[in-house]
């Protein structure tokens, strides 16, 4: 089975984000990068699928900056077999990213039986790349998946929708599956895994190698700015039991008369 996982490197969730000088993107120089949290579930599911299907390989693909290949090395250390990096700026749009992933997968010479991705990258929060990639490859996709069972290339997938309801999909490979939190518990890379990862193959392509040009940009961003600061709110001390009823009555009154939300 040819298993692919697409991963992205994103700013650590704790990182302070500031717009760059001309507001065209963010300041990236001092950011700590991590593997997109949802992609960890995708990598883990790929490794579980490989373990259940002998003779399978897991190829991890990333489109992004070359300086720091940490996320790919982490995936290799977790147990992926080989990796592909398409060197690109961090601010590609979803269409360019999907097209680059498609190009990289095709260039590998392996036809995917299953592709795992995270449901969403937590930098641009677009939720587009999985569906776009599936569409470009002519594959079905199921997104926001938090349950995955596979037997003989048939998948039963659970997708969470509004109100906590689950849609249960049946699909035969090839299929693209976008992972949600809760799909599994991602493993940590072991020390031997980290040592081995250093010797695993990592192919590197440019965007033009995989057929992507500036004309492929579909989404234009400008005017990056910090959200307006909220004016300081009103704070009431109700630690003392005697004060509680009065404070609550005051807040309810404000919600009604000042904020007008109830």
């Amino acid at each position: 089975m040819n298993i692919f996982v697409c991963i992205k490197q994103v700013p650590d969730t704790e990182t302070k984000i500031t717009p760059n000088g001309d507001g065209s993107y963010i300041e990236t120089s001092s950011i700590k990068w991590i593997m997109n949290p949802y992609d960890e579930f995708a990598v883990e599911q790929a490794l579980l699928t490989k373990a259940a299907n002998s003779g399978s390989t897991v190829t991890v693909v990333r489109v992004g900056g070359v300086k720091d290949t940490e996320a790919l090395r982490t995936a290799l250390a977790m147990g992926a077999d080989d990796a592909i990096l398409v060197e690109a700026d961090d601010n590609l749009d979803s269409y360019m990213t999907a097209k680059a992933l498609k190009g990289a997968i095709e260039k590998s010479g392996k036809t995917p039986d299953v592709i795992f991705t995270g449901k969403q990258a937590i930098d641009d929060d677009c939720l587009q790349v999985p569906q776009l990639l599936a569409q470009m490859l002519g594959m079905p996709s199921v997104t926001v998946v938090d349950g995955c069972e596979e037997a003989g290339g048939s998948y039963t997938l659970k997708r969470e929708v509004e109100g906590g309801a689950l849609e249960v999909y049946e699909v035969t490979a090839p299929v693209l599956i976008a992972a949600n939190k809760g799909l599994n518990s991602p493993r940590y890379a072991s020390l031997p895994g980290i040592m081995k990862a250093k010797r695993k193959p990592l192919a590197q392509h440019s965007l033009s190698d995989v057929g992507v040009s500036a004309d492929d940009r579909r989404v234009k961003y400008s005017g990056f700015q910090l959200p307006p600061e909220k004016p300081a709110g009103k704070k009431f001390d109700a630690m003392d039991e005697a004060a509680q009823a009065g404070v609550v009555a005051e807040v309810v009154k404000l919600l009604r008369e000042e904020a007008k939300v109830i």
């Binding site: 929060d125 699909v171 959200p227 009431f236 039991e241 009555a249 109830i262």
Partner: protein, 317 residues
Amino acid sequence: MAKILVFSETSGETVKSVTFEILGKLAGHTVDVAIVGDMGANATADLAKYGAANVHNLKGANLDKYSPEGYANALKEFIGSNYDYVFAGATSLAKDLMPRLAGMFDAGMASEVTNFVMEGDNFAGTRPLFAGKVLAKVELDGPKPGFVTVRPNALGMPEAPTAGAGAANEVAANAGDIKAAIKEIVKGASEKLDLTEANVIVSGGRAMKSAENFKILEELAEVLGATVGASRAAVDSGYAPHAMQVGQTGKTVAPSLYIACGISGAIQHLAGMRTSKVIVAINTDPDAPIFTKADYGIVGDLFQIVPILKEELKKVL
């Protein structure tokens, strides 16, 4: 003028309210609405009230229930070259469907905008990125139509909607080849409005201490007509299911009122709820970061405050 289609969902007779928010924002334009599968008879009337010129109901084999490929195939054929923009609410369904459809047209898509304007014939939106830590202007390029999803509750309901003709039109549509089909739908625990659509949310954090204790939040929510949410710490401790999680790895919500009970206000939690219009925080720690985002902060023990709050609200609601 740009030709605009709004893709809408209905459940029974009820049209998702985000459709009305979008129609309200597009007042002054001629806007059609498309619905796939069964729709209630009243839905057309409601859509007309909010400005729909034509209500197209796409029907055909295998379109009675959602599948990404079936809906995308049907809509692709219907949209053809008839529209410049296709809007939808950022619901579970549309977030899954719209990118696939955009891919079919090799077109661009702006995800989950919180505001937008039509500048002449062109769409210009605002969207939060990096978990809401920055805002940016978003525009689309490339082949038409451009696709846009709008965050529910972000625009707000129009105050005085302009009525449209609301001409009902049934369209025979083709689902085409479906490889990923829904076998069954397992009903969710909650009959309440989903967090992403809720207008009022009462959330509990690690301080709730047990699943059992969430009952006091349920009771408060009952009085307010609210939906109950949770922080990741509460979810990871098993006090609440993941479907209730608000935040970076949970749901992004935009209610008019968010009441955070025993939630510290970690950056990843704020990511999911910072666009709430009014925030109330109840926390014993006067220095909890949530207080910097709260419009009304109550420094106190939630187990004491929440029941009093419930009784006080009962008096006025």
